[in-house]
Amino acid sequence: MMGWFLSVLHCEFLRSGPVDTALLVGGSAAVVCAVIGVFTVLRGHAFAGHALGDVSSAGGSASFLAGISPLAGFLGIAALAALALEFLGVRKVREQDVATGIVLGAGLGLSALFLYFDITTTSTTGAAVTVMFGSMFALSSSIKWPAIIVACLALVAMGLLYRPLILSVVDPELASTRGISNHWIGVVHLLMLAMAVALAALSVGSVLASALLIGPAAASIRLSRRPTVAILGAVIIGLLAVWGGVWMAYESYYWFSGNSWPVSFFVVAIIFIIYLLTIPLKYLTGRKTPVPVAVQHATGAS
């Protein structure tokens, strides 16, 4: 079994340039999304994360027109949208739903316009598909390093802010008595979210970006409420989905006699199946008392 697996891998899979790029960019997206996704799910910002992904499509489609790197487009618009969400008041629960919705509508409207210009003025007829659903095998290899740099930046920022973030998730009042500004933590968290979403949009497409952000994190949180374990689990699930998806899409060329299926479909399908599998698993493993562990964890050493 193992020998067969290695022979499949060694064949042409790892020698192919596009596969190499897809594995690197998708892998860094999976890691960053998993780490930040755990906080996004715990803070109840899944809708905001999803909206950022959708809105970032405006950046992706504008990048074709402006001739800049799609990563820069996704990142720029995602960051702008994150600030707009903060400005419109995602912090007030009552307003969150509608405010996010309005930003979402405006962003998607813009990307409709940009994609229309892409299709009519340049010859990129596939722009809508690339931006919305991603095409990992079509990524240019020059995007590898910028993607890795953005991923490292997001991870370093997360490392520096890990404690205050956990504390402000678990107990905002305690956090503010310790001199942590929940407002600024919220802003910084949304900006990190924008970085994660931009990477995810680049690899699986902006409409599907939230699968990578929310899916692995939500599945992993079901299994363990300890933040470190949950983050580790989410990283593993995310990498499994992305790399597994890339491999399956590559192989699907042979399965369906030349009609390969999109990578993003496989990635999202694997994530969804893993999420469904964790529903019964939760009852088998028994859930640990969530909040006290996290509080000890966050406050113990500080």
């Binding site: 799910v41 109840g44 899944a46 809708f47 994360g49 999803h50 959708d54 009552r94 739903d97 509608v98 996010t100 919705g101 309005i102 930003v103 979402l104 509508g105 405006a106 962003g107 998607l108 409207g109 813009l110 409709a112 316009l113 994609l115 229309y116 299709i119 007829t125 596939g126 722009a127 809508a128 598909v129 919305m132 659903f133 497409g205 409409v207 599907l208 939230s210 699968a211 929310i214 899916g215 939500a218 079901r222 009609n259 299926w261 999109p262 993003s264 479909f265 990635v267 999202v268 399908a269 994530i271 969804f272 999420y275 529903i279």
Partner: protein, 272 residues
């Protein structure tokens, strides 16, 4: 703009705007904007499958809207509402992209389905639109009082024998019907804007349900008509105008309310 081929577009979009404005009022009241976003995206593979099979898109849409409603309802019970809805959404969207990739009109097909095709309404499309909207309007009228009570004060509705699960399901079914009807015209991604923006604007201007509901319908109609006119003139996609006008309406209402509150509080301070 009023040529015969545009006539169907005008009729269909007027009906859609009427119904969307009505139901959108409850979407905003129940804060189920996410569901309003999830259902159109969930029915996206339905449209794609219909293209693949060569049948009327509406049938594919209705089938997948039903799947989306059931899945949403089930997953909401199992876990965090936002997470569950989000995952169902993207999985169905991914399925749609797979189905579309099997047809030969991948690029243009995706664009039309995502952002709407306002000129594609034919005379044959009008009858289902009329029937579905009659069903929805009838549903809203007969459920008006319980739905209003349960949306605004969920805890008051329970002692009156309104089961929240049943109301949720009925509401999702109505929402699903509107979505399936409006999706081919307005597009997957911006049906949501049509449902949320007029209603949110109306509710931030008036707390009176009847007044807010009427205002929501009026704004929805205005938004739809203006979008068609602009889309016809510029040839730009209608989705852009729906999104942009929606955001403008909502922000102006917010600014207006802010100024009014400041003015009122200042005059309240001066009078005594």
């Amino acid at each position: 703009m009023f040529q015969s081929f545009m006539l169907h577009t005008w009729i269909a979009s007027t009906i859609i705007a009427l119904v969307a404005g009505t139901l959108g009022f409850f979407v905003v009241l129940r804060r189920s904007a996410f569901a309003a976003h999830a259902l159109p995206i969930g029915s996206f593979p339905g449209a794609a499958a219909a293209v693949l099979l060569g049948i009327q898109p509406l049938w594919g849409l209705l089938a997948f809207v039903a799947v989306g409603v059931v899945l949403l309802q089930q997953l909401q019970r199992l876990g965090r509402r936002d997470v569950a809805a989000g995952l169902v959404l993207v999985t169905l969207m991914a399925l749609g992209s797979l189905l579309l990739s099997m047809t030969h009109s991948y690029g243009p097909g995706v664009f039309a389905l995502l952002f709407g095709e306002v000129l594609g309404v034919s005379a044959a499309d009008l009858l289902p639109v009329a029937i579905i909207s009659a069903v929805v309007i009838f549903g809203v009228i007969s459920l008006y009082r319980p739905l209003l009570l349960q949306s605004a004060f969920p805890e008051l509705a329970v002692p009156r024998g309104l089961r929240p699960g049943v109301m949720d399901l009925l509401f999702l079914v109505l929402l699903g019907l509107v979505v399936a009807m409006a999706l081919p015209v307005v597009g997957t991604l911006l049906v949501f804007s049509l449902l949320v923006a007029p209603a949110a604007t109306a509710q931030s201007l008036s707390a009176n349900p009847i007044r807010a509901l009427s205002l929501s319908i009026l704004l929805s109609l205005g938004m739809m008509w203006l979008s068609i006119v602009l889309s016809f003139w510029t040839n730009w996609p209608i989705g852009f105008f729906i999104g942009a006008i929606g955001a403008t309406l909502f922000s102006s209402a917010r600014i207006f309310r802010y100024l009014r509150d400041r003015f009122n509080s200042r005059s309240a301070m001066v009078t005594p």
